[in-house]
């Protein structure tokens, strides 16, 4: 089995399907142990770069969405001064009931934002928040390609495709 795989263009240690064979795994491990120190340091540096890039993306996404959401929330109260009333009359239940209208499609969201409606701005901020993890996966794909780590690049690419697919499946 393994001797046959050596003649394949995939190279030693891989079977006909291109998967790593048991033998190949051992070679890989042995190879790994020999260079463990150098490789270890190299791997550490690679992971570190990816970590810093991802941490930065997350922080930017978080700060931007907080600012937008807080601004939108301010506008909601500014436009509807009844929200402030201390002596009731306007219960929060009217706002949180299922009948209360708010934008939940891109057309109505666009309208709402151009009117500088608080609800629309809040939803925009929430969408930025939702897109932050997607962006962080995309940065992960690019980082792993850049650091020449094909297995992890493929893994993150699959996650990105499923994520983007989920938005299309939702009919966004």
């Amino acid at each position: 089995m393994t001797s046959a795989s050596h003649s394949k263009s995939d190279g030693p240690g891989f079977d006909a399907k291109g998967d790593l064979t048991e033998d190949g795994m051992h070679q890989f491990a042995r190879h790994h142990r020999q260079l463990s120190r150098e490789e270890g340091v190299l791997m550490e540096e690679k992971i570190r770069k990816v970590e810093l890039a991802i941490s930065l993306v997350l922080r930017i996404g978080v700060v931007v969405s907080v600012v937008v959401i807080a601004f939108g929330l301010g506008l909601m109260f500014f436009h509807h001064s009844a929200y402030f009333s201390i002596r009731g009359g306007f219960s929060y239940r009217e706002l949180t009931s299922q009948a209360s209208p708010f934008p939940h499609s891109f057309a109505s969201l666009g309208n709402s934002i151009t009117r500088l409606d608080g609800q629309g701005i809040v939803v925009l901020g929430v969408l930025i928040l939702i897109l932050t993890p997607v962006l962080r996966v995309a940065v992960g794909v690019l980082s792993f390609i850049y650091e020449k780590d094909p297995p992890m690049a493929l893994v993150t690419l699959y996650v990105l495709v499923v994520l983007i697919g989920s938005f299309f499946l939702a009919g966004v």
Binding site: M25, M43, I47, V50, E51, I54, S55, L58, R59, V62, S65, V66, I69, A70, G72, L73, M76, F77, Y83, F84, S85, I86, G88, F90, S91, Y92, T96, S97, Q98, S100, F102, H104, S105, G118, Q119, V122, V123, G125, V126, L127, L129, I130, L131, T132, P133, V134, R136, V137, G140, M152, V155, T156, V159, V162, L163, G165, S166, L169, A170, V172
Partner: protein, 279 residues
């Protein structure tokens, strides 16, 4: 209660949810859903929408710090996301088919089991030094982190990757069905099945839940389950709380993290079972 009271009180509760969620990797949804349904009597569908927002907020807020501090196992997290995202997409389509009461009972059982598994491992402290797990070795999912509480670098090996993947698929399903960010299943999967240290499990769970939740968030947005007046205070409060909580994890012992995790799970599990079973 006026809308202003509602927004202010919900923001404060969300800060607490963010601290707790980021500390034990549960994502705050586990606090937000019961608070909204039991305290504010918000419809469960809107509560789940808000919870998805809180999960993403906890994840991004806490992970920004955990990733920088090397507490997160980035490679293991990204690898396991294969299963969680796939589970989340399948789950988002089952949620309209299942009645609310069933969701509560199911939620309760899931959490009770998670807490039992985690409590059983409370005396296990030392991480593994060798691993013959092929997937873990091939993708090099092993890692090392600096523990400020123990003041030393702690290297660890990963095992049980296949079982981990299976549990993560279920975690993704549960997240989409209940909006609890599935941290309740992710942490035991990494801590129990894959032998990652408790703090790394929590930090990595925090890192992953945002992506799992994002995979079902599009569906919730289109269905009109993300109500701005609920989502805004939740998002802002949780983000602030998660940033604070991320500074705490390193400084307390792994055993404390584990016990807090178990206690929170038991409480919520009982609440949910009650809601689902009693008339």
């Amino acid at each position: 209660m006026t809308p202003l009271d509602f927004v202010l009180s919900l923001t404060l509760i969300s800060v607490a949810a963010g601290v707790l969620g980021s500390l034990i990797g549960l994502g705050g949804g586990v606090v937000i859903v019961p608070v909204l349904t039991l305290l504010y009597h918000v419809n469960i569908r809107l509560a789940i929408g808000a919870s998805i927002v809180s999960v993403i907020a906890t994840s991004s807020g806490a992970a920004a710090a955990y990733v920088r501090e090397r507490m997160t196992n980035l490679r293991a997290g990204m690898f396991l996301e294969i299963a969680t995202t796939t589970g989340a997409v399948s789950g988002a389509y089952l949620t309209t088919l299942l009645p609310t009461r069933f969701l509560f009972v199911f939620f309760g059982i899931v959490l009770a089991y998670s807490s039992f598994v985690t409590f059983q491992r409370r005396h296990v402290a030392e991480p593994l030094e060798v691993s013959s797990d092929r997937l873990a070795n091939y993708f090099n999912l092993h890692g090392s982190y600096y523990d400020p509480f123990e003041e030393r670098e702690i290297p660890y090996k990963v095992v049980g990757t296949k079982l981990g993947l299976a549990l993560m698929y279920v975690a993704g399903l549960v997240s989409a069905l209940l909006g609890i960010g599935s941290g309740a299943l992710k942490v035991p999967a990494m801590d129990g099945a894959m032998h990652l240290p408790m703090k790394v499990s929590s930090a990595t769970s925090n890192f992953m839940i945002g992506v799992t939740a994002a995979a079902s968030a599009g569906v919730y947005f289109i269905r009109g389950q993300i109500d701005p007046i609920i989502a805004a205070p939740v998002a802002v409060g949780v983000l602030v709380g998660a940033t604070v909580g991320a500074r705490v994890l390193g400084r307390i012992s792994s055993k404390s993290v584990r016990l807090v995790f178990v206690v929170v799970l038991v409480i919520i599990s009982v609440e949910m079972l009650q809601k689902g079973l009693l008339p």
